[in-house]
């Protein structure tokens, strides 16, 4: 940091308005107004307009490169004329080469595959502070960037470089206006002061502060509360590793460190050299014109170029030639010495030359190992150079990557000169710049090479994307009477039949056994007909292992099939952690947990349901109970879906009436909820609608005439078809309520569904209090879909409201016909008992993932209301929920 900058840091921005004279404030306000008007007018310009102006400015900059460089040298007394000319040319020609084809007006980039368009919005007025070290090149660079992006700039050059900078601004301004740029687009503060800067940094019409090079100003810019690009000091470590091409490395370092007498803040400061090549490297430096200081000379140099009080470089040394610095320090060097090299033995205040030195003095450090070298480089990086630049010369890719990993630097330059490398577009493909972002480590907002895109607000025009949807079901489904015969086509050495004691007693297992391929070894694993427990699963997996099963046949209701799914999972992937796999999720396809794909064993799972409701034979869900912990674990993943489903109604012919009704209404609820689900698709709709039609037609017959084969067959198909719908579209609020209520009061799932169903339909058909965000649907359609169902069932009605009402009424009639209680109260649950339970039930229902796809987002109070409606009982005339007021 240069001594004068410490003064700048002490200036308090809020004081500026109080201290500045009225005339000065009027002057500054005038500049801002002029810039604001220019920026406003500029918004009307097209890409062609700005490109035309930019090209003219670049040509003018190239033409004036030498003139401006001379002015800079004369005024600042820093640097090398020839290098300053080059810098001016890089700032124009190289920058132009990078930006000429870039779009900065209107649409700047399009991503059709993402339905995204990026559009440019100018910033408006930019207040720019420019440095003494790279004065005219920085101004040229910023002028070109500003025009390319349709912004106006007020410049505040470093006072010691004001004349050359104001001349650069004048040249750029005149050529820009001549080619159509708005008047007032650039201005340069007359006799800029820190108070002026403070005032402008706080000005409401200044959109961005771009402060380059002066740490105090950078800090002030960030403290102003305005968006700022502040880029500042560095302390570039260089690792010269033993595999490097020494000739190239030494030349590159000399080129870089002597370029413009080391005024570029990305230039090399301390070179850490592997011991093996240390002497050879120093010899090479000496051969090419560097003076290697001995210990005494190093001490003299330290005292001359580093301020002992602050530990920072002396301003008088900045940008001076090596021979002049040697003369100040009292060193005797050869006349054409380019560089002074001073060996150091550490980094920090005790080693003064380890800091940033913007002049041709380079510290060198011998390292005994890669580890030591990297450590020292980290030390240098952290001694004032965080986020800036680091350099490595090496042919060892591993070391290069390690270096990149441990350096906190926006630019890590490999096998090329640090300063010119960091400027970009000369030695590498970095974006050309005269402002180096140093990231948060340097107190900056970016690590980028500041470029045109930092002078733009980039707007993103995001169109609604058509979300990918899915429809996943088992590979094969066999249905209708005697579909079990299809078992013959599945060869197996060893098959386990998982079933319940009752089904075995009823002889159903024997039916299955008869149809399994001959010569197959068959073992029957009988499990309790209840939600599967961990112990039951473990026993099943033991049997699978013992018999080396290659096929599992699940014969039973939902619980048996669920058990078989989990047995298969644990058999194939013994390491599967069921608790972990049961982690909550919002979208089945975006689950955080991953189900195992590596399998120790493989077994085909064939599911045959003996009830017509759950549809577990085609679903990707399984529920497990851990009695020890009292917890219920719900597993959901498409890998759980059985490989084959056999939907044979002969296994349901003897279902009792109550079970027929309960499972039948469960099936209807699946279909109705999938039908209005936010995840519904034409694929699931076709299944849901067909299932509803079949239930309304055949469930009453199957209930009244259990031996009616057609009715049983159709209900069995309906359950499977509804399950295909909800496996892919999910269910809704009805299931959430039924799960909570059923578990609390021991009511069978189908019955609990039945108690809620009419109320939930009315609720979903009404105008939602809160819409559920859903990229899958367009508008609110639940009521219309209910109306479509009503049409399908031929229920009549002219309006959507009438049709919804008729559907609810038809559902209630069906429930009555099946002998379901009309209310929770009818179950014998007292009002007081229910009142006590409801708050907790609402909480449990809200946590249930089932409703996440519900078309209407339930509020907790609405869940409570729905519970109470179910308690009071159904009847279309009862309550507002049964009187849908559709969207």
């Amino acid at each position: 940091m240069i001594a004068t900058e410490k003064v700048q840091e002490r200036v308090q921005i809020p004081l500026a308005v109080e201290i500045l004279s009225a005339e000065r404030i009027a002057y500054l306000e005038g500049l801002v107004n002029q810039a604001k008007t220019a920026a406003a007018v500029f918004t009307q310009f097209t890409q062609a307009d700005v490109d035309r102006i930019v090209k003219a400015m670049v040509l003018a900059g190239l033409e004036q490169a030498q003139h401006l460089a001379r002015l800079a040298i004369e005024e600042t007394k820093l640097g090398v004329l020839e290098d300053k000319i080059l810098k001016n040319m890089v700032a124009t020609e190289f920058v132009y080469n990078y930006i000429k084809d870039k779009r900065t007006v209107g649409i700047i980039r399009e991503f059709p595959e993402r339905n995204l368009i990026e559009m440019a919005e100018p910033i408006g007025v930019i207040f720019s502070v420019t440095p003494v070290t790279n004065p005219t090149s920085t101004v040229l660079f910023k002028c070109i960037m500003a025009i390319k992006t349709r912004n106006a700039v007020i410049f505040s050059p470093h006072p010691k470089a004001w004349h050359c900078c104001s001349e650069a601004v004048r040249i750029m301004y005149e050529i820009a206006v001549k080619h159509g740029a708005p008047e007032g687009v650039f201005s340069c503060l007359e006799s800029p002061t820190l108070l002026d800067n403070a005032f402008l940094m706080k000005h409401k019409d200044v959109g961005l502060i771009d402060a380059t090079g002066v740490p105090g100003m950078v800090k002030a810019a960030y403290s102003s509360g305005k968006p700022a690009l502040g880029v500042g000091a560095g302390n570039t470590p260089v690792y010269l590793e033993k595999t490097a091409d020494l000739n190239t490395a030494v030349v590159d370092i000399i080129v870089s460190k002597t370029f413009d007498n080391g005024t570029i803040c990305a230039s090399e400061q301390t070179v850490v050299i592997d011991d093996e090549i240390y002497d050879a490297a120093l010899q090479k430096f000496a051969d090419l014109g560097a003076h290697i200081c001995n210990e005494k000379e190093t001490k003299k140099l330290e005292r001359t170029v580093i301020d002992p009080q602050t530990g920072f470089m002396q301003p008088m040394a900045v940008g001076q030639k090596a021979i002049d610095i040697a003369r100040f320090a009292g060193l005797s060097v050869k006349p054409h010495t380019k560089l002074l090299i001073a060996p150091i033995h550490g980094v920090g205040r005790e080693h003064p030359l380890s800091v940033e030195k913007l002049f041709p003095v380079l510290a060198v450090y011998p390292a005994k190992s890669v580890a030591e070298a990297l450590r020292v480089c980290v030390d240098v990086n952290h001694a004032g150079g965080i986020g800036h630049t680091a350099v490595i010369f090496s042919r060892n890719e591993e070391v290069i990557r390690k270096f990149g990993d441990v350096m906190n630097a926006g630019r890590i330059i490999v096998n090329s000169p640090g300063s010119i490398g960091a400027l970009g577009a000369v030695y590498n493909d970095l974006v050309p710049t005269f402002s180096f972002g140093c990231g948060t480590g340097g107190g900056n907002s970016t690590t980028d090479n500041v470029n045109i895109f930092h002078y733009l607000n980039i707007k993103r025009l995001a169109r609604r994307t058509q979300t990918h949807m899915w429809f996943r079901i088992p590979n094969q489904i066999y249905f209708n009477m005697n579909a079990v015969e299809n078992l013959r086509q599945f060869p197996s050495q060893s098959t386990i039949i998982v079933t319940s004691p009752l089904l075995e007693q009823m002889g159903m297992v024997d039916i299955v056994r008869r149809h399994i391929c001959p010569k197959t070894h068959i073992h029957v694993q009988v499990i309790p007909d209840a939600e599967p427990e961990v112990k039951v699963i473990s026993q099943g997996v033991e049997a699978l292992n013992f018999y080396k099963a290659d096929q599992i046949i699940a014969l039973g209701g939902g619980s048996v099939i669920d058990a078989a799914k989990i047995m298969k999972l644990k058999y194939e992937s013994p390491e599967a952690d069921l608790e972990y796999l049961a982690a909550p999720f919002l979208d089945l396809r975006k689950r955080v947990v991953e189900y195992p794909t590596e399998k120790v064993n493989r077994a085909r799972l064939i599911a045959m349901s003996t009830t017509s409701g759950t549809g577990s034979e085609v679903t990707p869900f399984a529920v497990l109970t851990d009695k020890a912990s009292g917890r219920k674990v719900t597993l959901a993943d498409y890998s759980l879906t059985p490989d084959v489903a056999i939907v044979d109604p002969q296994f349901v012919m003897s279902m009792p009436k109550g079970l027929t009704a309960d499972t039948g209404i469960d099936c209807l609820t699946h279909a109705l909820e999938a039908g209005v689900s936010n995840y519904a698709s034409p694929y699931t709709d076709s299944n849901a609608m067909q299932a509803i039609r079949l239930v309304f037609k055949y469930l009453p017959i199957a209930y009244e005439h259990p031996h009616d084969e057609e009715a049983r067959c159709m209900m069995h198909n309906a359950a499977c078809i509804a399950a295909m719908a909800f496996s892919n579209a999910s269910v809704g609020v009805n299931h959430a309520l039924a799960h909570a209520f059923g578990a609390r009061f021991g009511v069978p799932h189908g019955r609990a569904n039945a108690l809620m169903l009419p109320h939930v339909m009315a609720y979903n058909a009404a105008v939602p209090t809160k819409f559920m965000p859903s990229p899958y649907t367009q508008g609110y359609v639940a009521h219309k879909k209910y109306a479509t169902v009503a049409d399908l069932l031929g229920l009549g009605g002219h309006t959507v409201d009438e049709k919804v009402k008729n559907l609810i009424q038809a559902t209630e009639q069906l429930l009555d016909q099946l002998g379901f209680p009309k209310s929770i109260a009818e179950l014998g649950i007292s009002r007081e008992q229910f009142e006590r339970a409801v708050p907790e039930l609402a909480g449990i229902a809200f946590d249930d993932p089932s409703w996440r796809s519900n078309p209407r987002m339930p509020l907790m109070s609405e869940l409570v209301e729905l519970f109470w409606k179910a308690y009071e009982g159904r009847g279309v005339a009862k309550g507002a929920a049964s009187q849908p007021q559709t969207v």
């Binding site: 604001k36 008007t37 406003a40 009307q44 708005p182």
Partner: protein, 114 residues
């Protein structure tokens, strides 16, 4: 009911309507602004505001872009109009020009009509 309510609404006589139209014509100035002559036209509009008109309407339909001098002229016109309590309507302003006026905070000083 509707008919009764309608009958109770006080209505202007044809004579009164004719008088009002005449008055409106007297108190309004209409000017077409040509893009090539924005500044002189705006100055002319300013000069016409002698206090007898209550409203001046400038048609900017043919103005595709405005520059800094036009903005200054508009600001001057706005100041004159405000001083004389005259409403300035801008008709047919395209959105690009409207955005420029918005950025320099001039929109609040004019009324915009289609």
């Amino acid at each position: 009911m509707k008919d009764e309510a309608w009958r109770r609404v006080p209505r202007l006589s044809h004579k009164l309507c004719r008088e009002m139209v005449k008055l409106m014509a007297m108190t309004a100035v209409f000017l077409n602004v040509d893009e090539a002559r924005i500044v002189p036209t705006l100055r002319e509009a300013g000069e016409k505001l002698d206090g007898t008109e209550r409203e001046v309407t400038l048609d900017l339909s043919s103005v595709l872009r405005i520059d800094g001098s036009a903005l200054r002229a508009m600001e001057e016109l706005a100041s004159i109009a405000e001083g004389k309590n005259v409403k300035v309507n801008l008709r047919g302003v395209n959105v690009e020009v409207y955005k420029v006026l918005k950025l320099v905070k001039l929109t609040r000083r004019f009324s915009f009509v289609n």
